[in-house]
């Protein structure tokens, strides 16, 4: 018998993983794509050299949301379950980061421990919700209703924690006004800790995280696990009849999506040193769906690019008033659904690919 994956040498196993950076579940392959991607990251890395600290901190803010968007892409675009409540895991982890850091403090790199724990708790929370949903045979639009309910219940609950009895150790939950005053991410360093306030250092940390998460998700989506997820999206019944435990896969995908939302949430709290119940409210819950749908939910690259573009556009609109911006978002969603249901970025990438193919011939 030929060797199975468990007996492969580490080096060839790494090669197998790297090969999965490209595959049927992700658009983009070959030198042209990776060259462009490299240039994009290089440009993003050079950006702080050209912009002032406030603008860089603002760009960091955009990067924070991409994790929740990519997680929703996995759950909705790949596994076919439209979650309307990713903000539940975002908010849960955001509060967890606050509670943990206010109690643990920021010395010895403990803020990073708090970050990791918040993501783990958020992911676990999503696994529990996912378990009850998928093993409870909830399907289709009802997944949206249940997840939306979860996030709204959490919002309502957190909004009534104003009294002094609502404290966890040192941390007051503070009801509607939310928590604040937690430390930012803090790197222990010789001669003094580095506090990662919004600015270039936090920006670089986030940029690195985005790259790692994006590449990691590409590998996962082109793996056997990813094959099963897209098959479940197409025809869950057939997947079960190929011997897969469909509900387990759905639950795991949901847990992964939740962990990514949690990463966004904990980073958000660390970025601004505050978190409020409205981060789990209806408006907040709807926005990730717009980002992902507009860019293209069925491709992780499209989701990432679309989210950044829409966020930047949204922010320039809010300068004229946030209600107005929401109306524009809604219109954009509607137009996408009607005109380019695959998403605008996916449409553009396919067009580019076709042009490129033709010019090669």
């Amino acid at each position: 018998m030929t060797p199975t994956s468990s007996t492969l040498a580490p080096r060839s196993r790494a090669r197998v993983l790297l090969a999965r950076l490209e595959g049927p579940q992700t658009m983009g392959r070959g030198p042209a794509f990776w060259g462009t991607a490299f240039l994009a990251v290089a440009a993003a890395a050079a950006y702080p050299l050209m912009a002032d600290a406030w603008t860089v901190g603002n760009a960091a803010y955009f990067l924070i949301w991409t994790f929740m968007a990519m997680g929703l892409g996995v759950v909705w675009g790949y596994a076919g379950a439209l979650s309307f409540g990713q903000t539940a895991f975002f908010g849960f982890a955001g509060y967890a980061y606050g509670v943990l850091t206010l109690n643990l403090g920021a010395a010895y790199g403990l803020t990073f421990v708090a970050l990791a724990l918040s993501v783990a708790f958020g992911g676990l929370f999503a696994l529990v919700i996912g378990y009850f949903m998928f093993y409870g045979r909830i399907q289709g639009v009802f997944i949206g209703i249940v997840t939306l309910s979860v996030t709204l219940v959490l919002e309502t609950f957190m909004a009534q924690t104003a009294g002094p009895q609502w404290r966890i150790g040192e941390a007051r939950l503070n009801g509607f006004n939310g928590m604040s005053g937690m430390p930012p991410l803090t790197l222990p360093w010789f001669g003094g800790d580095i506090l990662l306030y919004p600015g270039p250092s936090l920006y670089y940390l986030l940029l690195g995280l985005v790259v790692v998460c994006y590449l990691g998700l590409r590998i996962m989506l082109n793996s056997r696990f990813g094959n099963v997820l897209v098959a479940i999206r197409e025809n869950p019944h057939r997947v079960g009849m190929l011997g897969y435990d469909v509900r387990l896969y759905q639950m795991l995908a949901f847990g992964i999506g939740g962990a990514f939302a949690a990463l966004s949430g904990a980073l958000y709290t660390a970025w601004g040193q505050y978190i409020t119940p409205s981060s789990m409210g209806l408006t907040s819950a709807a926005l990730p769906i717009v980002w992902v749908a507009v860019g293209g939910r069925r491709d992780i690259t499209a989701t990432l690019i679309g989210t950044l573009v829409v966020l930047a556009g949204f922010q320039s609109l809010t300068i004229y008033g946030s209600q107005y911006a929401l109306v524009v978002m809604g219109t954009l969603l509607l137009l996408t659904v009607l005109a380019a249901p695959e998403g605008l970025v996916v449409g553009a990438m396919k067009l580019l690919g076709r042009v490129f193919q033709r010019s090669k011939r």
Binding site: M1, T2, P3, T4, P24, R224, N227, V228, V230, A231, E234, N235, H237, R238, V239, G240, M241, L242, G243, Y244, D245, V246
Partner: protein, 239 residues
Amino acid sequence: MSEILKVEGLRKAFGGVVVANGIDFSLSAGAMHCLIGPNGAGKSSFFRLLLGEHAPDAGTITFDGGDITGLRSFQRIRRGISVKFQVPGIFKALSVRQNLEVAFQDHLHGHSLDATIREMLEFTDLQGEEMTPAGILSHGQQQWLEIAMAVGVEPKLLLLDEPTAGMSPDETHKTGEMLHELNARGITILAVEHDMAFVEQIAERVTVLHFGSIFTEGTIAEIIDHPGVQEIYLGTSDV
């Protein structure tokens, strides 16, 4: 020959509709067997009971020496039952290759995926269609693709619900040859079929289902000459 499947006293009703009325049925390992009966006789329902998509009201199902009556569908598949549905159950938006990959990826035993997929493309006459979205294949090709997928999970028993529905006579004949080849590889075959020429091509023995019960069982010749069977079918116009 040893029994691979044994069904005893299987019973299932939906409200007043009895789809399985105390079915006793057994199949020996390596057989090629056909299940016939007029529309609404309960053939598809019998398959769903075997696959665990319906829970029976009474009765037991023994497969490959073990009681599987209480197992979930995917667990039965892992024990070695596989199915090709009446309506093609493929992943239409995914390429032919992706369809095969999902079916075969956990059953390679060290063989290369590429070689396995090439072999199955040849088996199903789908060479050159590797990257085609499965949904735009012809109806017959979709049926073949689903048969190939069903084979991917290394079944001991393959259930086929009207595998030649909508096929031309040529395609039907080729399907019969495919099933013979699978049988030669050791897969027991149980097919629901209306086309008597096809039944003759593939089956050694035939069971007739009527109103959720086994009406009779025998060789093709015995079934064709059976006056009761003719009567059942004369009452229906679809055969």
